[in-house]
Symmetry: C2
Subunit: 383 residues, 2 copies
């Protein structure tokens, strides 16, 4: 049900002809109210795509009536003309739906540095608007795919209300955020400030902690819209938990479908002096190409974990480090631990535990292995 | 001639049986004086191998009479026993040569987390000492290879004096330093303080600016020894230039032989507000896996360059960025520039120029592409 699991939302996903292969490439999600509350977080990359610059302005108002998303082109690094294209897209949506353009968010994904084919995109908006439906959530999720092999949706139900969402993203996945577009909807009656807090809390420990390939996108957007249609105003913690659960579910799906990956790596850093230390160490391990190759080769090469930890500023003593791979403590006190032959790495999920022995804080970062398929897919992307 | 190009040095390289395939794996370089001045720089990884911890102590004294280097095992993350192994190795060298162990540096390279076979290494020291020769530089350079396909040497001659060197390193190459062992020798009459300054100046802009795979080793060592045998005391600048030239030559050879690489990428960042900004941006580009894949695919994907620049804290405006690939300005003012079809990427060396438009400083970082061969080589390394 995706973004239409919550009452008050309609959605559509169609093929506008932006993708040359004729696959679906345009999605529209509309909030029919009664509330139009919204919050959003965006990429921290300083090179931001035109739709990000536009949607940041829209989200600042706390009200979003619709979001239009296209795959087949990122509209990033396209200059003032690219920004005009985004503006024209929002105006078109507003025109067709009878909304204000200032409340229409825009998201794009695909190749950087190429203008969007507006002669196809604008008629596509009309076509999508004509197909809007309270059952359109799946189609919308399908239309935002790029190199994704599956579409990603998630729903969590509260007492009389729900939070639903869809996500796309398969490469350029790194903290702060990933190459991803995520639209979350809820029919809970929550003001923009509450949405904003719940969304930031959720993304901080979910989307911000997946790191497929260390690359940060120009287009990331996570948008949460609330219709209030359930007429239920849940407690903040209950609502925030539901948002976090949907985000964690979608984040896990993104890692599970990352470009070329054959393993999903769950890196848990424990006994850190601070959560910040735990995250820094987790990210350093997640981005270590040599370790990612070793995991691909099902090689419990803990030396590469220690070498990655050693590049950080986190509090630890080298001879106080312990590392487990799939539950086997192959490194104890910074040196050889249990027999590495005991480690079974045949399954897709690989768990690395890094014990810093420096405190009581912890964090989990999700990553992928590095494979020849990743290289192949990304050497041929734009050609 | 490598480390024996300078007068006053003898060297040897032999097979001690540390490597199971019987290849040369032990090198010895001896300074026969009259001076024993030395300086060294080491990995900034906080997880340091036993030989690094030992050699840091030795170098602190400013005098090194010999250095023994082994491939076939890094002796990193091997606990107190590993440190004792290093100590025993230095004692053995001192014993055989009639030196003090406190002036014998030790370097190791190979797999992390495995003890060295001392029953082979110690007899190997005797064998190497017996083969010491003023013509042994090439053999020493060959004995320190790990996954290197060629041995690396360089020599620069001054007026009556010379600086020579050897290096090994093919993976885990990243700033601060790379996975590499480098031994430089000179017969110039230079005090330890002058050696130290010249070495730090040289490594800062050479070894510290190559980044093959973003991974920092536990064992990196660059050692410079001066015999004074030429009885010539060159001007500091002249000497420093020679050291820098040898380091730059060896650094370029390391990049040219990096594991699995098919392209050497020269990243020049220009018009930066500071040298630090230029280096930060250069490293961010150098470590971007998506860009490295694109270069492998001979795809002038400048969007990935901008996306990498955008993750830094350097001073720039997104619409003030220009990027050239092999001389074609494919990105101008943050948007589409000249026709990307004009870019010819058939040759091994690829030049990326990033113009930040924010100042007058610049820096060059060398990197490699990311290939299926890299993945293959590093998924099978320890198995």
């Amino acid at each position: 049900m995706s973004v239409t699991a919550a009452q008050g939302f309609t959605a559509a996903g169609i093929a506008a002809g932006i993708k040359e292969n004729g696959n679906p490439d345009l999605a529209l999600v509309v909030n029919n109210g009664p509330r139009l509350h919204a919050a959003a977080v965006f990429t921290s990359n300083r090179v931001k795509a035109a739709p990000v610059l536009w949607s940041q302005q829209v989200a600042r108002g706390g009200a979003v009536s619709a979001v239009v998303l296209n795959s087949g082109g990122a509209n990033a690094c396209t200059g003032p003309e690219g920004f005009q294209d985004t503006h024209a897209t929002a105006e078109k949506v507003a025109d067709v739906l009878g909304h204000s353009a200032g409340e229409v968010a825009v998201c794009s994904t695909g190749l950087i540095g190429v203008r969007l084919p507006m002669d196809k995109l604008l008629p596509g908006v009309e076509k999508a608007a004509a197909e809007l439906s309270p059952y359109g959530g799946e189609k919308a999720a399908i239309a935002i795919k790029t190199t994704d092999t599956t579409h990603k949706t998630a729903v969590v139900h509260g007492q009389g209300w729900a939070v639903g969402g869809m996500a796309k993203g398969a490469g350029m996945l790194a903290p702060g955020l990933a190459t991803m577009l995520v639209v979350l909807t809820t029919d809970a009656d929550v003001e923009a400030a509450g949405l904003d807090k719940a969304l930031r809390d959720a993304t901080r420990t979910t989307f911000d902690r997946i790191d497929s390939d260390g690359c940060m996108s120009t287009n990331d957007t996570v948008l949460l819209m609330a219709s209030g249609a359930s007429q239920v105003a849940p407690e903040y913690e209950e609502f925030a938990d539901a948002v976090r659960e949907v985000c964690a579910d979608l984040a896990r799906q993104l890692i599970g479908d990352a470009e070329g990956a054959s393993k999903d790596i769950r890196i848990e850093v424990i006994n850190a002096a601070s959560e910040q230390d735990a995250v820094e160490v987790g990210r350093s391990i997640a981005r270590n190409n040599l370790l990612k190759c070793a995991v691909h080769g099902e090689d419990p090469n803990w030396g590469r974990v220690l070498s990655a930890i050693g590049t950080t500023d986190a509090a630890f003593e080298p001879d106080g480090l312990n590392v487990a791979i799939n539950g086997v403590w192959v490194c104890r006190r910074g040196a050889v631990g249990d027999d590495r032959e005991l480690v079974d790495m045949r399954y897709r999920e690989v768990r690395i535990t890094a014990d810093l022995g420096a405190g009581t804080d912890s964090a989990v970062i999700w990553a992928n292995d590095l494979t020849a398929d990743y290289v192949h897919e990304n050497s041929a992307y734009s050609s």
